[in-house]
């Protein structure tokens, strides 16, 4: 101890303590369990670090805690680097934390279990809150990092399966400090748009630290509060985050989430083909049915009756017409013969009378010679008298 030469004021003493402590503990690393963690609205964090024998109050200012990838929780062990500061107005000392990390992977695991249990007790994972996923979405909201492979995978799956859909991307940081706040903001933005049918929250695989944003309470709560159904596709098959439990549907990967969110256009082609085939068959059957009804009616006895009657009448008419025509022909022939006989006798009667008076008809080669110029002298000539013919031979 130094020798006291003067009486100190409280302020002077405190100043000396402050200087001593702050010089001595300027850059130290401490491990302990978090208790009484309080994030202030100003952005600063206040908490205690303790072990079985002691406790030390800690502060972590906004500028520093924004680079912590996880939100501390009471009960988990952390390793912090910082310094001791003394606050004279209260006469107390505290640990001013500059950086913080979980004391081990197991610590994150237990943080995970603690939060999961708490939210489960609140009922956030209950089936009754799960919203149905629409089967034919028009717009799919996507919360993801646009420079990631997960994003490209989701786009190519949407393009292949159902290019009729519109993807509305809310780009987000999905890893590291600020990621949780970013994801929350993206979910809220998509909810404000009103015309989104389903939201996919996607991120490719990574370590538990990489995926930690999806285990943050604010992210889990914003998924729960989303009016739009949410499908989570985070990490690989084996990775589970608390977001997966609260989401309306958990897909194993971002690609699987897109597969679930989009119908396959091949199914629609098949449906339409079935329609064309089946309805074509139906129409054909319908036609066949009507046709058969018509044929059956025509073939029926009742339908045949008038036709038979018609045929009988028609036959009678045919008979009458035939008889009539036969009679007519007979009459016609008879009259015709009579006429020709009469005309012949009339003709011959006329010539005979002239011959009777003493005229003679001259014939050569069986033709009557009516002019002297036609007469060929020396040729055989017949002379026809009233009472007979005479041959003149040359």
């Amino acid at each position: 101890m130094f020798e006291q030469t003067e009486i100190l004021t409280v302020s002077e003493l405190t100043r000396q303590i402050k200087q001593t402590l702050e010089e001595e503990f300027l850059q130290i690393t401490v491990q302990g369990e978090i208790s009484n963690f309080k994030p202030h609205v100003s952005g600063h964090w206040y908490f205690n670090l303790k072990d079985s024998g002691a406790v030390i109050s800690c502060t972590m200012w906004k500028g520093y805690n924004s680079s912590v990838f996880f939100t501390p929780q009471d009960g988990i062990k952390i390793t912090v680097i910082g310094r001791i500061t003394v606050y004279p107005p209260r006469g107390n000392y505290q640990f001013d934390v500059r950086s913080m990390k979980p004391a081990g992977i197991g610590e994150l695991q237990s943080a995970f279990e603690i939060l999961k249990q708490k939210l489960s007790n609140e009922g956030l994972f209950n089936e009754e809150f799960k919203k149905p996923i629409p089967s034919l979405p028009r717009r799919i909201g996507i919360v993801t990092a646009i420079d990631g492979a997960a994003f490209r995978d989701m786009i190519s799956i949407a393009r292949r399966r159902f290019p009729l859909v519109e993807l509305v991307i809310a780009p987000s940081k999905v890893q590291g400090s600020g990621a949780a706040e970013n994801i929350v903001e993206s979910i809220k933005t998509l909810n404000r748009k009103k015309d989104i049918d389903v939201i996919i929250i996607g991120r490719g695989g990574g370590s538990i630290e990489d995926l930690w944003a999806f285990n943050e309470e604010i992210v889990v709560r914003s998924i729960f509060e989303s009016k739009i159904p949410v499908i989570s596709g985070i990490g690989h098959e084996i990775d589970f985050t608390i977001s997966d439990f609260v989401a309306d549907l958990r897909a194993a990967t971002p690609s699987a989430a897109m597969e679930i969110a989009t119908p396959d256009k091949a199914d629609y082609f098949a449906f339409i083909n079935d329609f064309l085939y089946n309805s074509g068959q139906n129409i054909t059957n319908l036609f066949d049915n009507k046709k058969n009804r018509i044929l059956n009616s025509i073939g029926s006895y009742g339908f045949k009756m008038p036709l038979d009657l018609l045929r009988r009448k028609s036959q009678q008419v045919d008979g009458i017409v035939y008889k009539m025509s036969v009679n007519f022909d007979k009459q016609f022939l008879m009259l015709k013969n009579k006429l020709s006989l009469l005309s012949k006798s009339l003709e011959s009667h006329d010539v005979k009378k002239t011959l009777e008076k003493g005229f003679v008809l001259v014939k050569q080669d069986s033709k009557f010679i009516t002019r002297s110029s036609k007469f060929i002298p020396g040729k055989e000539t017949q002379l026809e008298f009233f009472d007979g013919e005479v041959n003149l031979n040359s």
Binding site: L136, A170, K193, K265, N282, I283, L286
Partner: protein
């Protein structure tokens, strides 16, 4: 009738197609009505198939303005 079809959404067209499909399965249906439905169904089918075939995936990216929290859309082209 054709005008009405093109105004409808893809989803409505599918619903109508399904409805027509059921109606055509009925034995009671009149021939004229069946023919009209069949005609409509074929139009709808053509329509749906061409819609699916020519569809191009649309991607919209929301732009964030963290101060005002307003959003603004722009077309986003991948690759």
């Amino acid at each position: 009738m054709t005008k009405k079809i093109t105004k409808d959404t893809f989803e409505n067209k599918l619903d109508r197609l399904e409805e027509i499909s059921h109606l055509l399965e009925s034995d009671e249906i009149g021939l004229e009505y069946a023919m009209a439905l069949y005609q409509e169904g074929i139009e709808l089918s053509k329509d749906c198939i061409s819609t699916l075939k020519v569809a191009e995936l649309k991607i919209t990216q929301l732009k964030k303005n963290l101060d005002t929290l307003t959003t603004d859309e722009e077309n986003f082209f991948e690759e």
